[in-house]
C-alpha cells in the first residue's frame, strides 16, 4: 500500500492522477468494507469530483496542495456540510450539518480527498466501536476481534488500505488505543493544537482531533495540514503550530527518554516486552533511557471517568429534540425532551450521562467532580516534574492486544480500563502517539506510546520516528487492500 506522502508526490508530479488514486481506494472499500464496516458513509461521487479538480490544477500547472490526491477517511463526529454526521447515534441519524468542521476545510485546502465518514462508538464513548448504533467495526487482523475505539472506523480504514490516512478524535485514548490494536500510527496532539470547531463535543476540556497513518511521517504530514490557530475555536492555541514532518527522521541522539513504570505495570507481558525492546532500541540510537515512576498516574483512570462523563452530561444536554436530530413528540416540552433522549441515545451514552449527572449533583459535586479536578492538577504537576528530567516518556498504549467482540460489553468498568495508559495525556492536555511495535504470539499488533509535554510534538515525533525505524516488520492484516 502506498503512503500519503508518496501518493501526494506522485499526484503533484503528474506521475499518477488523483482520480486513479481515489478509484483504487473506492474499489478496496467496495471489496472489503462489507465485512470490516469501517465506513458509515462513502462519498464516492464527491471524492471523484474533488480528485478531478486536483488533476485539473496539476494539468494547469497550479499547486494542488501538499496532500494532493490523498484519500482521507474522517470520523463521523466531524461535521461535513450537507453530508450525514451521525456520531453513530440514532439521535443524529438523519442530521446533515449546515457547516464543515475547520479540519475538513483544511484537508480540502491541502488537496486531500475526503472519501468517507467512519464508524465510532456512539458520541465517541467506548473503547471497541461496539457502541455504534449502526453495528460494530471489525479488526482487519482478526475480524472476530474489536478494532478498539472510539475511532475504530478511522483506524481500520487506514490499516486495511481503505484510505491512506484518516482523522479521529481522542478524549481518553480514542485515537491511540485503536491505532495500537489495528497496527497503525495514531497521534493525539497537544490540547488546542487542532481546531475543535465542528468536532461534536464529548468532553470539551479533553477532546482533540488527530491523525491515523501507516507511517509516522504520514501522521506528521496530516498533523501539519490540519493544525494551527482557528479563530472559530476559542480554545485554539493562538500561536503558529510546529512543522513536524521534517523532524521524523532527525534521530534521538542526546534525547532523554523515561519509561514510565505505571504505564508498564499491570500490562500484558508481551506488551511490556515490546515497550522494553523499543526503549532499548532508542538507547542504541543514542538516546539516554531509564525508568521513571509517576505514581499519581494511577489515579488518572478514576479522575477521567468522573471528569469526562460530567462534561459529557452537560454537552449532551443539547440533544433535546428542538433544533436538530430526533424528536419523539409528547404533550409538553420536558416530556418530549425525556422521550427523545430515551429513544435516541444508546446504553453507553445513557450510562455516561447518568454517571456525569451524578458526579455533578448536589451533595456529590465536591466529593467526585471537584476531587477529580484536583487529581487532574496533581497529575499535571507530576508530569511537569518528570519533564524536568526527560524530553519524552515511553509506555504501553494499551494493557492488551485486540480483544474479542462481546468480551467486555457487559462489564463497563473492564471496558473503561482499556484506556488506563492513555487517559493521563488527555487530563494533562499533552501530546502522545502510538507506534506499532511487533505482535503478540497470536500475531496481533502491539502499540508503544511516546508521550511529550505540551507543544512537544517535534520531539515526540523524533522519538516516534526512531521507534518506528527499530520496530519488527509489521503484521499484514488478514483483510487488506490489494497492493
Amino acid at each position: 500500500m502506498t503512503g500519503a506522502l508518496e501518493l501526494a508526490a506522485a499526484v503533484r508530479s503528474g506521475e499518477r492522477s488523483a482520480l486513479s488514486v481515489v478509484e483504487d481506494h473506492l474499489g478496496a472499500i467496495e471489496a472489503l468494507d462489507g465485512e470490516l464496516h469501517a465506513y458509515l458513509t462513502v462519498l464516492a461521487d464527491a471524492a471523484r469530483a474533488q480528485a478531478s479538480a486536483v488533476d485539473a490544477t496539476v494539468s494547469a500547472g497550479g499547486d494542488p496542495g501538499p496532500l494532493a490526491g490523498v484519500p482521507v477517511a474522517v470520523k463521523d463526529n466531524l461535521c461535513t456540510r450537507g453530508v450525514p454526521t451521525t456520531c453513530s447515534s440514532r439521535i443524529l441519524e438523519h442530521w446533515r450539518p449546515p457547516y464543515d468542521a475547520t479540519v475538513i476545510e483544511r484537508l480540502r485546502a491541502a488537496g486531500a480527498i475526503v472519501v468517507g465518514k467512519t464508524n465510532l462508538d456512539e458520541f465517541a464513548m467506548g473503547s471497541s466501536t461496539e457502541n455504534s448504533a449502526f453495528g460494530p467495526t471489525r479488526n482487519p487482523h482478526d475480524p472476530a476481534r474489536v478494532p478498539g475505539g472510539s475511532s475504530g472506523g478511522s483506524a481500520v480504514a487506514v490499516a486495511a488500505g481503505l484510505a491512506a490516512v484518516s482523522l479521529g478524535s481522542d478524549t481518553g485514548g480514542s485515537i491511540r488505543q485503536p491505532a495500537a490494536l489495528c497496527g497503525v500510527v495514531g497521534l493525539k496532539p497537544t490540547y488546542g493544537m487542532v481546531s475543535r470547531y465542528g468536532l461534536i463535543a464529548f468532553a470539551s476540556s479533553l477532546d482533540q482531533v488527530g491523525p491515523f497513518a501507516r507511517t509516522v511521517a504520514d501522521a506528521a504530514a496530516l498533523f501539519d495540514a490540519v493544525s494551527g490557530h482557528d479563530p472559530l475555536d476559542s480554545t485554539s492555541l493562538d500561536r503558529p503550530a510546529p512543522r513536524t514532518v521534517g523532524a521524523v527522521g532527525e534521530g534521538v541522539t542526546g534525547l532523554r527518554v523515561g519509561v514510565i513504570t505505571e504505564l508498564v505495570d499491570g500490562v500484558d507481558a508481551e506488551v511490556v516486552a515490546a515497550v522494553r525492546a523499543a526503549a532499548e532500541s532508542l538507547a542504541a540510537a543514542g538516546a539516554v533511557v531509564d525508568e521513571v515512576s509517576i505514581p499519581q498516574l494511577r489515579f488518572g483512570m478514576a479522575a477521567y471517568y468522573l471528569i469526562a462523563p460530567a462534561e459529557a452530561s452537560s454537552n449532551l444536554a443539547r440533544y433535546d429534540g428542538v433544533r436538530y436530530g430526533l424528536r419523539i413528540e409528547a404533550d409538553d416540552v420536558e416530556a418530549m425532551n425525556r422521550a427523545t433522549r430515551h429513544a435516541g441515545f444508546g446504553p453507553e451514552v445513557k450510562r455516561r450521562i447518568m454517571l456525569g449527572t451524578y458526579a455533578l449533583s448536589a451533595g456529590y459535586y465536591d466529593a467526585y467532580y471537584g476531587q477529580a479536578q484536583k487529581v487532574r492538577t496533581l497529575i499535571i504537576g507530576a508530569f511537569d516534574q518528570a519533564y524536568e528530567r526527560y524530553d519524552a516518556l515511553l509506555g504501553a498504549t494499551t494493557p492488551s492486544t485486540a480483544f474479542l467482540l462481546g468480551a467486555k460489553v457487559d462489564d463497563p468498568l473492564a471496558m473503561y480500563l482499556s484506556d488506563v495508559c492513555t487517559v493521563p495525556s488527555n487530563l494533562a492536555g499533552h501530546p502522545a502517539i502510538s507506534v506499532p511495535f511487533g505482535t503478540d504470539a497470536a500475531g496481533l499488533p502491539i502499540g508503544v506510546q511516546v508521550l511529550a509535554p505540551a507543544l512537544g510534538e517535534v520531539t515526540m515525533l523524533r522519538v516516534a520516528g526512531a521507534v518506528e525505524l527499530a520496530a519488527p516488520p509489521r503484521a499484514v492484516p488478514k483483510l487488506v487492500a490489494a497492493p
Partner: protein, 102 residues
Amino acid sequence: MEPARHLTREDAAYVARLARLDLTDDELDTYAGQLAAVLDYAAEVAALDTEGVVPTAHPLPLHNVMRPDVPRPSLERDEVLGAAPAVEDGRFRVPPILGAAP
C-alpha cells in the same frame, strides 16, 4: 460519603430526572449497579488528601477571546431550520413549555 454501592433504583431515577432522560425500571436497576461499581473504583480518588490543591477545569489558561466587531456571514437560516424537527414562521416549534393551568 455514603458508600456508592448503596445506590438504589430511586437514586438512579432522581439522577435520570435531572438529566431529562426517561429510563425503564430495568434500565434504572442496571445503571444503579453499574454506577455503583464505577463509583467504588473512584473511591480511592475520592478519599485522597487534596487539601490545598487547586482544581484544574481545563488544560489551558482560559481567557476571553475577542475578535474585531465586523459583520460576517453566519449560517444559512433556511439550512439551519431545515434540520429542525418542527418549525413555524422561521422559528423552532416546540410543545407547550408550561403544563395545563391548575
